[in-house]
């Protein structure tokens, strides 16, 4: 997967080098942006997106919002496009059922996922004006790497049993593809504002093939759900990234 990511990145860089004649906005080709996205499971719900996670199948579930801060670096190529590098942390908390054979109790344990998303993409500006300015379509490849830990669930009064709390999960990653449509404009001197809507999808990661037998948690505990916690994390991420609005403010640096 890492190789694929590098091949795509190299291809785009090569393209950029071949056509390195971009003019940029008033000669400025490089810009840095700070963006905000209120990601939500809202759109997924409207489209009746079939979430595997039990806790998001329920229509009575609250609409969830997460507040993401993104950092964007953008470099103009071809006059009508730009290469984009984006980073944002993506931390996430969910819940999963576990069963204690000793006490014959099914309880909830929280899943705390700490992740980072690195995206590399290309924005194609449709407005016939020098990039980066105007309306655009963006195409991104995102690498999402995260680590998961079982923590105290807010819905459970019981503390997390030690075998679960001590369990070390593998750090895993996934690749996602997304498309965005947006508009970038100058609102003062070299300061830009970018409003966009992005939709994407993250592919299953390799963890699904891990032989995850209950013995790993010890004889006393086993997960109730078929899904493994990492998969839960990923599936929830899919739901969140169905449609993401972003507002970003940038500075045309050089």
């Amino acid at each position: 997967m890492k190789n694929r990511f590098l091949i795509i990145a190299s291809f785009l860089l090569l393209q950029s080098a071949m056509f390195a004649q971009a003019i940029g906005y008033q000669g400025k080709k490089f810009m840095a942006e700070l963006g905000y996205s209120p990601v939500s499971n809202l759109s997924a719900k409207y489209f009746s997106y079939g979430l595997a996670d039990d806790y998001y199948d329920d229509a009575n579930d609250p609409i969830l919002f997460k507040h993401l801060i993104k950092v964007n670096l953008e470099y103009t190529v071809f006059n009508s496009g730009s290469l984009v590098f984006r980073y944002n942390p993506f931390n996430y908390t969910s819940n999963i059922n576990y069963y204690s054979t000793a006490t014959d109790i099914t309880d909830l344990v929280g899943i705390e996922s700490k992740g980072n998303m690195f995206a590399f993409g290309y924005k194609s500006y449709t407005t016939p004006t020098a990039a980066p300015l105007g309306k655009y379509f963006g195409f991104y490849v995102t690498r999402y790497s995260y680590s998961t830990a079982l923590v105290q669930s807010e819905f459970s009064r019981n503390s997390v049993p030690e075998p679960l709390a001590n369990f070390k999960w593998d750090k895993v990653s996934s690749i996602g593809l997304s498309v965005s449509y947006g508009v970038k404009t100058i609102f003062y001197d070299k300061l830009t504002m970018d409003i966009s809507l992005e939709a994407g999808y993250f592919f299953d990661n390799a963890v699904s093939s891990v032989n995850f037998d209950n013995a790993l948690l010890g004889a006393e505990y086993q997960f109730v759900s078929d899904a493994y916690p990492q998969q839960t994390t990923l599936i929830n991420t899919r739901a969140f990234f169905f449609a993401v609005p972003t507002i970003a403010f940038g500075y045309l640096a050089f």
Binding site: I23, Y25, Q26, G27, L42, S43, Y46, F47, N79, T127, P128, T129, A130, L133, G134, T185, I186, L197, A243, P245
Partner: protein, 756 residues
């Protein structure tokens, strides 16, 4: 040879702007507008106040635009002359005198009119027709009458009222648009009668001739305003040369009788006119003049010499006015009239050569026949009709041959002149491309007698049956005959009568300049044809269109210095009636000037902007340069793909030398606001339940106008006439500063960046 101020020793030079520029040229119109609306009376109804504001807005901006366009001549000597006449006319009314200002219009149209702000414009076409100062004084008095009676504002208010009524009043609503026009015209006629009265009374108070004969002459000017100032026979032999003759079959047996504009008109026709009929105006004048004689009065109170001098210049300026508008026949006839007295004026001989070249090039071009076909001979009256007929009936080959014959003869006469050879080259290029494929078509050895030449010419030009009806103005059968004849000229290109025409160059062929010209043209033609073949072989569709101009999409031109000429910015709101947004348009222009400067500075580029709003009082010479460059540009746009020097190319070459660059940029923006297509916002709103942010966006789209703008930038090498289309964009966006910056930077980047 008469000497006049627009003339230098030896030959005529066009009159230019001198002295101080009036503030209207370089002061933003918006400033003036805000000052003017202060005088609107506050006790008027809001609706009336708004109407008056709109009047000051529209008329003020229109006058200023005209002042900046170069149509107005700024010349202190002749302005002072008009001022002296005005002093005499308004001796007893210093207040009114202080309000009126006179200007000369560089236009061949016979007209005078009063505009907002007390500005009165008199065309040089009118001056050229007048007999004396008294006639001019009467016309000035009439126009002062419009100012004195505030007719401009009155007419605007009344016309607005009529428009309102025509949309509210059921009776008028049922009637056609014509009724509105008739009502407006009647009101306009009333105002014209008032101005006539004022003019006559003012004239009577002076010592100018104010008798019926003098005033009748003024109305005769109106009656014959569509004719040249003189009716002189035009002999077709004018274009003949030692080895070139013109068939007598191209001579009209008789020319159409001069009738003049109908003096009395029917009530129906009267309704279509803004002015009373000439007969009515003559009668009104006679009623006043019953007891006025020429005793103790004079045709001249200021200066006979100055009047004659001014009229002389006006007549000398006419040919170039006509030529600039591609009225080739008018330009030739007006030059011919002058050459009858000023027999060896290179300037007017060149105008004839340029006119023949223009007509030939347009006629040869298959793309644009607008100017070649514009002047049909049937409608023209008087001796000028012979010229119209000759140039109409002559086939394309002969016209090309004749034009080159005339032009190369001029080259031999004035070998040092820089304008004539490019004209000859242009004509030879067409001749070898359109008409003569064989370079050895010349009669090098044998001579042909003049009689034989006439016989050959007669055979090539069979006598046309031309029946000219003086009553019928509608297109009748004779138009069909005309069409048939034009079609037959196609045959001439290939038939046996074509070759003998080249005998016209029998003597020239011995001239190395001419041989070089011809051989170069043939080589260039063959090279173009070879290139076309190569393209076709490579599977690329390509047609060799001869000596045409290509428009390039300029990339990395590496030009060191560029002069931007009179950039424009217009804003139009298509949702409103009229729709021109004057104030924001002018602000936009000022912004655009700044954007050009800022982006040039970012690129460290040598960019000079020539814009009237950037001028100062003493920049008359620079203003004249702007006018000449704009004239050149508009000519080149008319030429389209026809590759031809500008009609005033010598002047343009000298301007390029003065500004130390050959590259001049014409650029501008038209910003539009239109009704929003309702479908888009509805779709956004309909989708908003799925994605909430679409709702405010949809609502915004519903109320916001649909923004569009057109961005044009053409860069010319004014010496070679090579053109680069840098911007020809129609964008579906608001023309925000950011977007304009982006495009302007890109444009200037392509101009200034050197290719690797």
């Amino acid at each position: 040879m008469q000497i006049c101020k627009g003339q230098v020793k030896g030959d005529y030079q066009r009159i230019t702007n001198t002295g101080s520029l009036p503030s209207e040229v370089y002061t933003p119109s918006t400033e003036k507008y805000y000052n003017e609306i202060q005088i609107i009376e506050s006790d008027l109804s809001k609706s009336d106040q708004k109407t008056q504001q709109q009047y000051y807005l529209e008329s003020g901006f229109s006058i200023d635009e005209m002042m900046r366009s170069g149509t107005v001549l700024f010349n202190p000597e002749y302005n002072a002359y008009l001022d002296h006449i005005a002093d005499i006319l308004l001796k007893g009314d210093p207040e009114l005198r202080s309000k009126v200002h006179f200007y000369l219009l560089r236009s061949p149209v016979v007209n005078a009119f009063a505009g907002e702000g007390g500005n009165i414009f008199i065309s040089m076409g009118l001056i050229a027709m007048l007999d004396n100062e008294a006639e001019l004084a009467y016309i000035m008095g009439h126009e002062i009458g419009h100012i004195a009676k505030n007719h401009g504002l009155d007419f605007y208010v009344e016309a607005t009222e009529i428009d309102k009524k025509s949309s509210n009043n059921s009776l008028l609503k049922k009637s056609s648009f014509d009724n509105t026009m008739v009502t407006k015209n009647r009101y306009s006629q009333t105002l014209e009668t008032e101005a006539d009265d004022f003019g006559i009374q003012t004239l009577i108070r002076t010592k100018y001739y104010a008798d019926t004969t003098t005033l009748d002459d003024v109305f005769d000017v109106l009656k014959y305003s569509y004719l040249p100032y003189e009716n002189k026979r035009f002999p077709i032999e004018f274009f003949e040369g030692p080895n070139y003759v013109i068939s007598k079959n191209l001579q009209l047996d008789s020319v159409k009788r001069i009738t003049g504009v109908q003096e009395t008109v029917s009530a129906k026709e009267a309704n279509k006119s803004t002015h009373p009929s000439i007969a009515e105006r003559r009668k009104a004048v006679r009623d006043y003049m019953l007891n006025v004689t020429k005793d103790n009065r004079s045709a001249y109170l200021v200066s006979e010499n100055t009047f004659i001098e001014l009229r002389h210049i006006a007549r000398y300026e006419l040919p170039m006015f006509y030529l600039h508008n591609n009225y080739f026949q008018d330009a030739i006839y007006a030059s011919y009239l002058i050459l009858q007295k000023d027999t060896s004026s290179k300037y007017f001989e060149k105008i004839i050569a340029k006119s023949l070249t223009g007509l030939t090039k347009f006629r040869n071009s298959t793309e644009d026949e607008v100017y070649a076909e514009k002047a049909r001979f049937e409608t023209y009256e008087g001796e000028q009709q012979q010229l119209y007929f000759l140039l109409w009936a002559m086939n394309d080959v002969e016209l090309n041959v004749m034009a080159l014959n005339y032009s190369f003869n001029l080259h031999l006469k004035y070998p040092e002149d820089q304008e004539i050879m490019p004209i000859c080259k242009s004509l030879v290029n067409d001749l070898v491309f359109y008409h003569f494929n064989d370079a050895h078509d010349f009669y090098e050895d044998k001579t042909i007698s003049r009689d034989s030449l006439y016989t050959l010419s007669d055979n090539a030009n069979p006598k046309l049956k031309v029946v000219i009806s003086e009553k019928s103005t509608k297109k009748t059968r004779k138009t069909t005959t005309v069409r048939a004849k034009r079609a037959s000229t196609e045959k001439i290109r290939a038939d046996k009568y074509k070759k003998p025409l080249l005998y016209a160059y029998y003597d020239y062929w011995k001239n190395p300049d001419f041989r070089k010209l011809w051989n170069t043209a043939v080589d260039e033609r063959d090279l173009r044809e070879q290139n076309a073949k190569d393209y076709r072989k490579a599977g690329i569709k390509y047609t060799n269109k001869g000596d045409t101009r290509d428009y390039f999409n300029g990339h990395k031109l590496g030009i060191d210095k560029v002069v931007v000429v009179d950039p424009f910015y217009k804003r139009i709101d298509l949702r409103k009636n009229g729709g021109v947004e004057y104030v924001s348009g002018e602000e936009g222009e000022i912004n655009y000037l700044q954007i050009l400067k800022d982006n040039a500075a970012l690129l460290d580029m040598n960019l000079e902007i020539m814009d009237p709003l950037q001028l100062e009082q003493n920049d008359a010479e620079k203003f004249t340069d702007i006018v000449n460059l704009n004239d050149w540009f508009s000519e080149q746009l008319d030429f389209g793909s026809i590759n031809m020097p500008g009609y005033n190319q010598g002047m343009i070459d000298s301007i390029a030398n003065k500004y130390e660059t050959d590259y001049f940029l014409w650029t501008g923006i038209i910003s539009l606001r239109d009704k929003q297509n309702i479908l888009g916002p509805i779709v956004y709103i309909a989708l908003s339940p799925f994605f909430i942010p679409l709702l405010p966006y949809g609502i915004y789209q519903l109320v916001a106008p649909d923004y569009e703008f057109f961005y044009l930038s053409l860069l010319y090498n004014v010496k070679t006439r090579e053109a680069n289309v840098l911007k020809f964009l129609f964008l579906d966006n608001n023309d925000t500063r950011a977007i304009l910056n982006s495009h302007t930077y890109e444009m200037l980047y392509e101009i200034s960046t050197k290719p690797k």
